[in-house]
């Protein structure tokens, strides 16, 4: 069976858990920006957690079903419509052949995840179906979905309708969003005061916020510790000899606006990084809209690992509920 794309939305891509293992060749991990949301959507329809679904940012797609199946929508708050009837999000919903799935306006968050029983069955590229447009990998011909596309679905019965995830298990960013950061990497390049300012200031998500990275503005510029630039680093004090960029690392080109690198980021480059957003909070960034306020919260490694354990506990609660 297939899904017929009537309208693609703004930038709707096929995503799974990504393709770790090729970062050393400049191919990013990719995959859903809010992985808990995609895992949950998959569990709701009876899929493996890592099955491929759709990630739609700000505007949902319009899709027609060519056979009966089960779907679930998680992530951002956006009215889910089957034909002209609104159906709940975070719940397994049966759909009939010929029905059309569409969405209302986004009210909170940034990205919805749509899982279909059986998962989207496009060819696997480097161990993943995730779409990476720059490298033309995964998805449909390596690009976002487009009107007229037919998305193949794997065969599956789907889980019985009615399974749902209650509101207390839907993790979304607060306002301001609090993003925990482990200082490190080239933290020593900035002054003590600049480090303090970074955590004290309130930031806002800039319009340049996508799968590659999220830019923030509104805080004070960073001051650097003076030094003679090392050979090969470039002349700006924010430059380093090109290195790898960890997923979640925070670079501040020119010392002005921090950028948190996300799933499709470049794998390396010549800008210093002052630290890294802990892995547990990367899902939250995927749900931030431009202009939303955010703060960076300093943690140590113990705090980062605790955040990781808390996220895993949440995921385990969802698994137990939907098992």
């Amino acid at each position: 069976m297939t899904l017929k794309v009537h309208h693609p939305g703004l930038a709707t891509t096929i995503q799974d858990m990504g393709r770790p293992g090729y970062f050393h060749l400049g191919i990013p991990i990719g995959g859903a920006m809010d992985r808990v949301a995609l895992r949950t959507a998959n569990l709701l329809v009876g899929n493996d957690e890592g099955a491929a679904g759709l990630e739609a940012v700000f505007i949902g797609p319009k899709l027609e079903f060519t056979a009966d199946t089960t779907i679930a929508v998680t992530g951002a708050s956006m009215p889910v419509m089957i034909d002209d009837t609104e159906v709940p999000g975070w719940e397994a919903v049966p759909v009939r052949k010929g029905q059309v799935l569409s969405f209302g306006y986004l009210t909170a968050g940034a990205r919805i995840y749509i899982a279909f029983a059986g998962g989207i069955d496009v060819p696997v590229a480097l161990d993943s179906r995730s779409t990476y447009p720059i490298g033309a990998l995964g998805g449909i011909e390596g690009r976002a979905i487009a009107a007229g596309d037919l998305l193949p679905l794997g065969g599956a019965q789907g889980s019985p309708a009615g399974k749902a995830v209650p509101a207390n298990l839907r993790r979304m960013p607060g306002s301001p969003a609090e993003l925990r950061v482990l200082p490190g990497l080239y933290w020593h390049r900035i002054t003590e005061q600049a480090g303090k300012n970074f955590f004290d200031d309130e930031w806002k998500v800039a319009p340049e916020a996508d799968r590659m990275g999220y830019r923030f503005r509104g805080g004070r510029p960073v001051e650097f510790v003076e030094r003679e630039q090392p050979f090969g680093a470039g002349s700006d004090p924010s430059n380093i000899v090109d290195s790898c960029y960890p997923y979640g690392s925070i670079q501040v080109p020119g010392g002005t606006e921090p950028i948190v690198l996300h799933r499709d980021a470049v794998s390396g480059g010549g800008y210093f990084m002052l630290g890294t957003v802990v892995s547990a909070d990367m899902d939250l960034i995927g749900q931030l809209q431009p202009h939303m306020p955010a703060r960076f919260v300093k943690v140590d490694m113990a705090g980062a690992l605790q955040a990781r354990a808390d996220r895993r506990a949440l995921m385990n609660q969802i698994r137990a509920l939907l098992d």
Binding site: P20, G21, F23, H24, L25, G26, I27, A125, L126, I134, G135, A136, L137, G142, L182, G184, L185, W187, P230, F231, G232, A233, G234, S235, N239, I240, V241, D242, S243, C244, P246, Y247, G248, S249, V266, S267, G268, G269, G270, M273, G275, T276, V277, V278, S279, A280, M301, A304, L305, A307, R308, R312
Partner: protein
């Protein structure tokens, strides 16, 4: 001097072998990443060499961050003591310098450049003390390069020239990055040359273009059959200047899937290299031209 260790969040160990770029730092970084690979530590999921640093991704649910750091510090001791020798590939890459496509692109973005009245090659030649573009191209193409990092996007090689510090070419990046760069542009920024693997944004100065496809998910070229990315960290690259006629012919061969670049297996010895750089490079040149 010991390397500097830091964590990139709860999943990455970052190791800076040296703040500044040098062949020694690159080499130590390579032998450390090879050591980590050989150690086969459980919970280490990715090993990514960079120019004078590297990154290790780990799963902290399997191995504690401190245990990763301790293990890599042990490996650093062995790497420091090991002979700086590398089994690698020597590859000839044809380059059409001063080509019409990068020229058209650089003219479109002139207001973002340090020297709006010249070309990238003229600017780079002048600030590096060469009296002509030809002399500059000769310097760029006559000594080989180490692929010191593969990354940024889709198999883009960063390359560091195998000459002493005094002869290293250095150029700044564009004042503001371009929004367009032709696919397979040979670029330059800081002390690194690169080859853009795909068309897209870029800030490096543009010197020429290679007809070789270096990234292709379809893997049509015979030299991409093993993997869609051509270059690997540690490869040694020699640029061969070609003219328009040879560029067109090579491109046609590449597109027809019948072009194979010259590739030789080589054992590189850093100590021997440093003892006689020009002599060693001449030997590599000879190896490349052996039938």
């Amino acid at each position: 001097m010991g390397a500097r260790y830091s964590f990139g969040g709860d999943e990455h160990l970052f190791v800076e072998v040296d703040e500044e770029m040098s062949l020694g730092a690159f080499f130590k970084s390579m032998s450390m990443t090879n050591g980590v690979k050989e150690a086969g530590l459980k919970g280490i999921t990715e090993i990514c060499p960079a120019n004078a640093s590297f990154q290790i991704k780990f799963d902290p649910d399997v191995i504690q961050p401190d245990a990763v750091m301790a293990a890599v510090k042990e490996i650093e001791k062995d790497a420091t003591a090991a002979d700086p020798v590398l089994e690698t590939r020597l590859i000839e890459v044809p380059v059409y310098y001063n080509d019409p496509w990068t020229h058209e692109t650089l003219m479109r973005f002139r207001e973002r450049h340090q020297d709006p009245n010249g070309t990238d090659l003229e600017y780079a030649a002048r600030i590096n003390g060469y009296d002509s573009v030809e002399a500059f191209i000769k310097a760029h193409s006559s000594a080989p390069w180490f692929v010191s990092m593969v990354g940024f996007v889709s198999g883009l090689p960063f390359m560091y020239q195998m000459v002493d510090r005094a002869r290293q070419i250095q150029v700044p990046k564009y004042l503001r990055p371009r929004t367009d760069t032709p696919k397979q542009t040979v670029g330059y920024g800081g002390c690194f040359s690169c080859i853009y693997s795909v068309r897209g944004a870029g800030g490096y100065q543009m010197f020429g273009i290679t007809p070789l496809t270096i990234f292709d998910p379809k893997q049509d070229a015979p030299y991409l059959k093993d993997f869609m990315v051509f270059f690997r960290p540690g490869d040694i690259v020699r640029f061969k200047p070609i003219d328009r006629a040879e560029y067109d012919a090579t491109l046609a061969d590449v597109e027809a899937g019948r072009y194979m670049p010259k590739i030789r297996d080589v054992r590189f010895d850093l100590t021997e290299f440093e003892a006689d750089i020009d002599g060693y490079n001449a030997k590599l040149e000879g190896l490349l031209n052996d039938a």
